[in-house]
């Protein structure tokens, strides 16, 4: 059941999204297999009215994994330039997230930002900000998943396709059309179903952008149906819409090796070709 959280203590939301109002920005760089260097920039909006004595705490954690003891960033009065550097041990850059809390003298949370994703510095020290990617679903290798692929999805974060590391899945996904079509069919369907059906995603910041993108890829402009009917049952129109959009999205024309192809058609062609070979054998 979704937990409903009221806000009687007046917690302020700290802006983490990239833009002119950003209050916290974290830049991370993988130094070695188990070491991540982080640079943290904080500049609180004065409208929060945080008192000088309020403490600032930042915690690194992994979704579905470990969490570190929060770092003490001092008090508001001493924020200064708001620049901090820390080194993280034993966490993966692929999965690390942060939560920021501003605390009063009685340990009450007065301000917070959760699920802060760091911008990543690459080997040449160039910062890659995940949000500006044009990729429909970013792919990430993960050794912790049990199945060959899985979906990492949380409200306000872009969905990520996880592929089991060590199985060459990332490469196969890029090169093998059959694998790509099978995985894409499952993942796009799952994301759309979650966005439409799960109330936790009602105000998700990434939802609209994703749906816009798949609709535009599919070229289908039907109205998005409600997932549930008034009697609480699943609306079959919504199921059909998800299927149609998913198929349309996978079948949009793309240029591969100088040729214009459609993945779904190519998939059918390869399957039928395989059937003929089997028959001959």
């Amino acid at each position: 059941m979704t937990q409903i959280v009221s806000n009687r203590t007046g917690r302020e939301t700290i802006v983490k999204a990239e833009g002119k109002n950003t209050e916290i920005r974290i830049i991370a760089k993988q130094i070695s297999e188990r070491k991540i260097d982080t640079n943290i920039e904080i500049k609180f909006n004065e409208e929060h009215n945080f008192r000088d004595s309020y403490k600032i705490k930042l915690q690194a954690y992994e979704s579905k994994g470990s969490a570190k003891r929060p770092w003490d960033l001092g008090v508001i009065k001493d924020l200064g330039t708001g620049n901090y550097n820390f080194t993280l041990l034993g966490m993966s850059l692929d999965r690390v997230l942060f939560r920021l809390k501003v605390i009063d003298e009685n340990n009450f949370v007065k301000g917070e930002a959760n699920e802060i994703k760091p911008s990543v510095k690459d080997a040449e020290d160039k910062i890659k900000i995940n949000d500006n990617s044009s990729t429909l679903i970013p792919i990430r290798e993960d050794k912790r998943i049990n199945l060959p692929f899985s979906l990492d999805m949380e409200p306000d974060l872009s969905p990520i396709l996880l592929v089991k590391s060590g199985l060459n899945m990332k490469q196969l996904f890029k090169e093998n059309i059959q694998i790509k079509v099978l995985i894409y069919s499952s993942i796009i369907r799952q994301i759309l179903t979650t966005y439409l059906a799960d109330p936790a995603y009602k105000n998700c910041q990434k939802k609209e952008k994703f749906i816009e993108k798949v609709i535009s890829n599919s070229g289908i402009q039907n109205e998005i149906p409600d997932y549930f009917k008034e009697d609480g049952k699943v609306n079959e129109d919504a199921i059909d819409w998800i299927e149609e959009i998913t198929a349309g999205c996978i079948n949009m024309p793309i240029i591969k090796a100088g040729k214009k192809i459609r993945y779904l058609e190519e998939f059918k062609r390869i399957c039928l070709q395989q059937k003929e070979i089997d028959n001959e054998n």
Binding site: T9, Y61, K64, G65, A67, R69, K101, F108, R144
Partner: protein, 263 residues
């Protein structure tokens, strides 16, 4: 002897032995989800016993000594806490992160196999109990050597609630507790759990407190803590402050008559 680390070859031998043993038990269980004690006894046949003995005899050839390990003697452990304490004492010159290695945990499984795999007494035989899967965050705690060692390293004496069971038993408190990430990492919460749910006179957790829906038991504590953590910064609070904050339904456990202040 000193504690050792399997070589790649030794580790493969161990994993192959245990997976064959597991499959043999599964075969005897004929599709049952949980094999009966009898299935486990029958599955661990003479051929597999011989195979275990041969790995044990050649273990020095297929493993390397840990330089800084102190002398390690296998003892009759009353519970997993004692098993972990003995191992951690031998490895006390190391940081835990440096020994958190599946080749060390599984070598310790081999050496202690007769303490952690007792046909007729064990109620499960899943591979992760004896061959650690470090890639799988949650199942890595279910290893019968690594799980207790991790808990004792993390929570010291307060780990007893998670390790008070026999070395061959999976501890349900540990299983329930490690699933909750904010509690798992917050050491003070292990003290809170000890003070509320540990029977200090019997040296074991109070029965029926790790799961279920009764008022005041662990799942309720977990839910309450999750709710409080939205409003309060629990990391800076001590056990007294946290226990005091709990609502009435926890009174029964808050007034734990067996509690001994060990500070």
């Amino acid at each position: 002897m000193k504690i050792r680390r399997f070589s790649l070859e030794g580790h493969e031998k161990w994993k192959s032995f245990y997976s064959d043993l597991f499959l043999n038990i599964k075969e005897k269980a004929k599709g049952k989800k949980t094999p009966s004690p009898e299935d486990i006894k029958n599955g661990y046949n003479n051929e597999l016993k011989k195979r275990y003995q041969s790995i044990l005899e050649m273990q020095e050839e297929i493993s390397e000594e840990l330089d800084k390990s102190k002398d390690y003697k296998i003892q009759n452990y009353d519970n997993s806490y004692q098993l972990a304490e003995t191992i951690l004492f031998s490895l006390s010159e190391y940081d835990f992160v440096d020994i958190d290695d599946e080749k060390i945990w599984d070598w310790l499984s081999l050496i202690n196999f007769e303490k952690v795999f007792i046909p007729g007494k064990i109620k499960g035989c899943a591979i992760y109990r004896y061959c650690v899967e470090m890639d799988n965050f949650f199942s890595s705690f279910r290893h019968l050597v690594r799980g207790p060692c991790w808990a004792v390293n993390q929570y010291s004496r307060n780990a007893r609630i998670f390790t008070c069971t026999k070395p061959y038993e999976q501890n349900d408190w540990l299983e329930q507790y490690i699933k909750v990430s904010f509690m798992r990492e917050m050491k003070v919460m292990s003290e809170v759990c000890m003070r509320l749910y540990y029977d200090y006179s019997r040296d074991e957790s109070i029965p029926g407190t790790s799961k279920g829906s009764k008022a005041g038991i662990f799942p309720r504590l977990r839910d309450k803590m999750s709710q409080y953590s939205k409003v309060k910064f629990l990391w800076d609070m001590n056990a007294d402050e946290i226990i005091k904050m709990l609502p009435k339904e926890f009174n029964k456990y808050r007034e734990n008559p067996t509690y001994k202040n060990e500070k």
